[in-house]
């Protein structure tokens, strides 16, 4: 019974992690940017969706779309206000660009987090669920919302796979993540590819944020841990490897769920972090890393 419970609960949370981490790893793969404002952007989407319901009085679907749109705008702002100016700045030595971008996005994330706390308090908010009620899966009472979350996450990942593998611009993105210089030689504008991946990232992070808001609820405090778990997942899976991130999301998701059920919910994040340390020692390129 407990095993079934863990199986069902772990699946939904892992799917959510997978969706959140996919965009994160894609950006790293293509442009070498580790976006540490990731968690704050997810929280932004969830809080925007909450505000849409409670301040603008729109329905659940429209609120969810509004949340995703706000995260998308937030992602573009991250790229145009923080990342690109730092990448193109002549004042920063080239070998230090990455560390500047890392610090820049970290500070940007903190700014977003503080603004959310300032305008909407640091108390948790929850997004109006699109579906309500529970169903019985083999004796496990499961919220329909949880099933909905898992389905949307996998549909999102599926659509991303189709775009990347079946469309011309998607293929260019994929190629760019393997060899950025090669893509420019083929006549693609790298800057346009960057904009495309930040758009994909914004939508994915927005969906993940809104779903998390429906499923568990988020507060401005969630920003740090969310960035942390996305970071763990992509390092574990191999930085830049999308399939590695998907597998790692499930490893981390289930490890957390098992810990929460079998040991103590307070310790749920610890085993995944220990695993991360071990992976860094034994296999620094991650489970499916390319380098």
């Amino acid at each position: 019974m407990l095993a079934l419970q863990i199986l069902v609960d772990g699946f939904a949370i892992s799917a959510l992690y997978a969706l959140g981490a996919t965009g994160f790893t894609l950006i790293f793969g293509v442009s070498g940017v580790l976006n540490l404002s990731h968690g704050a952007l997810m929280v932004l989407g969830a809080v925007a969706a909450w505000a849409a319901t409670n301040e603008l009085h729109v329905g659940a679907y429209l609120a969810a779309l509004f949340g995703i749109a706000v995260t998308l705008i937030g992602a573009f702002a991250t790229y145009f206000v923080v990342v690109r100016p730092l990448q193109t700045s002549r004042a920063i030595p080239k070998e230090e660009t990455e560390i500047f971008v890392l610090t820049g996005t970290l500070l940007w994330g903190i700014m977003i987090q503080e603004l959310i706390a300032y305008f909407f308090t640091d108390n948790a908010k929850t997004v109006l669920p699109v579906v309500e009620g529970v169903v019985n899966i083999l004796g496990v009472r499961t919220p329909q919302n949880e099933i909905f979350t898992a389905i949307i996450c996998w549909v999102g990942i599926g659509v991303l796979w189709l775009i990347v593998n079946k469309t011309r611009s998607g293929k260019a993105v994929l190629a760019a993540s393997m060899n950025p210089r090669g893509v420019t030689l083929l006549g693609f504008e790298l800057s346009r590819i960057y904009i495309a991946i930040w758009a994909i990232y914004g939508v994915l992070a927005g969906i993940a944020g809104v779903l998390l808001g429906m499923f568990l609820g988020v507060s401005s405090y969630s920003a740090g841990p969310l960035t942390g778990s996305a970071f763990s997942i992509v390092v574990l899976g191999g930085l830049g490897s999308v399939s590695g991130s998907l597998v790692a999301a499930y490893v981390v998701g289930y490890l957390e769920t098992v810990t929460a059920y079998m040991i103590n919910p307070a310790y749920r994040f610890i085993p995944a972090l220990l695993l991360l340390v071990v992976v860094m020692y034994v296999r620094p390129q991650g489970l499916f890393g390319r380098r």
Binding site: D9, N54, P129, P143, L216, A260, P265
Partner: protein
């Protein structure tokens, strides 16, 4: 015999001295009484504290102040941090020269400030922290810590209030027999849980389990699962830092066990919105609430607050509002803002506030400078969220509705 010129000199000197004395007293009369408010402006419970204090000060000032002196509120956002609070306290006393401090709803913060109230000999009253340790320190070293007052119920009293309510509405009316304690791991819940463990069996609720969660918990599914397996009739809560998330997940997962206890966030009028209505059916202890006439002052205050700020105050708003009033009252009775005289005057406080009749326990009592609990003083109340409103369900004298559970709760109705 003095020469006329000397007489004139003496008279002139005397007049000058008198004149300067008069201007001095006039200057003093115009000097405002300064009260610092150090609070968590970014948390819903904390945000009400400076707002309510300002409202009280405006009302007192509109009526001419205290013996002609206006009340000035100086507020500091502590960002829920103890270090920021200590810095604010030092600045308030040494730079802004405040006469008293109203501080925080977090026990850890107030415990960090208590030694500073002693060192800087400045009266400090908390509107919302609950730990027993605050008054215990005053009791154990009175001369040093006498500057600290506890303007909200101690955890032990909160447990008593919950048990008093639970006895009537759960045990007598609904024949409940078993409970699980469901509380967050924080300074204020250690004495609260000890209080629950003592009083729940006495009122006839057998404790099946005691769960303490990390305040960082985001997914409560495993906890609810465990509790459901133990089949208690009720979950007795002790939560403040968390609130929205466990409530929403309780509803989403349709956990069939009712919740009653301390749920600080549920006292906020925004809780319904924050949980998208998942709060429906949640029973929580509080000291007052919108539309509930705990005393003749409760409803006018809540309405005035709502009119000015667009939402109803949190529990710490009620207490902060009362605190400004009884500090002003103490200054008037002491005829001075001198800290020691103010302490002596505050100890004799007998003030009808928005949460009940306010008196403090004395030097010899267990909770020195804590609020006196009991009938005719402060009893607290139990409310329930129903259709977007907080409905008072206990004690019967002030109740304005009956308990109603959502359909997924399997609790008997009497």
């Amino acid at each position: 015999m003095m020469r006329p010129s000397s007489i004139r000199r003496v008279l002139l000197g005397g007049a000058a001295a008198l004149a300067s004395l008069v201007t001095l007293t006039q200057a003093q009369a115009a000097d405002p009484i300064k009260i610092a408010v150090i609070a968590e402006a970014q948390a819903i419970a904390g945000a009400s504290i400076p707002q309510a204090a300002q409202l009280a000060a405006d009302e007192i000032n509109a009526k001419g102040g205290v013996d002609g002196r206006q009340i000035q509120i100086i507020s500091y956002d502590n960002k829920s941090s103890a270090t920021d609070s200590v810095r604010a306290f030092q600045r308030a006393v040494s730079d802004d020269k405040v006469n008293a401090v109203i501080a925080s709803y977090i026990s850890e913060v107030v415990l960090a400030l208590e030694p500073w109230a002693a060192r800087l000999k400045t009266v400090m009253i908390t509107p919302g922290a609950a730990s027993n340790e605050i008054t215990k320190a005053v009791h154990n070293d009175y001369e040093k810590n006498k500057y600290t007052f506890h303007g909200y119920l101690t955890s032990a009293e909160l447990a008593m209030s919950v048990c008093d309510g639970a006895k009537d509405i759960l045990v007598n009316d609904r024949k409940m027999k078993t409970a699980v304690i469901f509380s967050e791991d924080a300074a204020w819940t250690t004495p609260l849980d000890a209080g629950y463990k003592e009083c729940l069996p006495k009122i006839g609720l057998q404790i099946l389990d005691h769960i303490r969660m990390s305040p960082d918990t985001t997914d409560f599914t495993p906890i609810y699962n465990k509790i459901e397996g133990e089949k208690p009739d009720v979950m007795i809560t002790g939560i403040s830092h968390i609130g929205v998330q466990p409530t929403v997940q309780w509803k989403n997962q349709q956990v069939p066990i009712p919740m009653l206890g301390i749920s600080s966030q549920a006292t906020n009028s925004t809780f319904w919105k924050d949980t998208n209505g998942a709060a429906d059916g949640v029973l929580f202890q509080s000291v007052s609430g919108p539309g509930i006439a705990m005393t003749s002052k409760s409803v006018p205050f809540a309405d005035a607050f709502n009119k000015k700020y667009g939402n109803f105050p949190s529990y710490a708003g009620y207490t902060a509002y009362d605190e400004v009033y009884y500090i002003a009252d103490a200054v008037k009775r002491a005829g001075s803002t001198d800290s020691d005289k103010l302490v002596a005057a505050l100890e004799k406080t007998d003030w009808e506030g928005t949460i009940g009749r306010i008196q403090f326990y004395g030097k010899e009592d267990q909770f020195t400078h804590g609020l006196k609990y009991g009938k005719g003083l402060i009893t607290g109340m139990i409310s329930q969220w129903q259709d977007g409103k907080q409905v008072a369900v206990w004690p019967p004298e002030i109740a304005n509705g009956k308990i109603r559970f959502p359909s997924f709760i399997k609790a008997q109705n009497p």
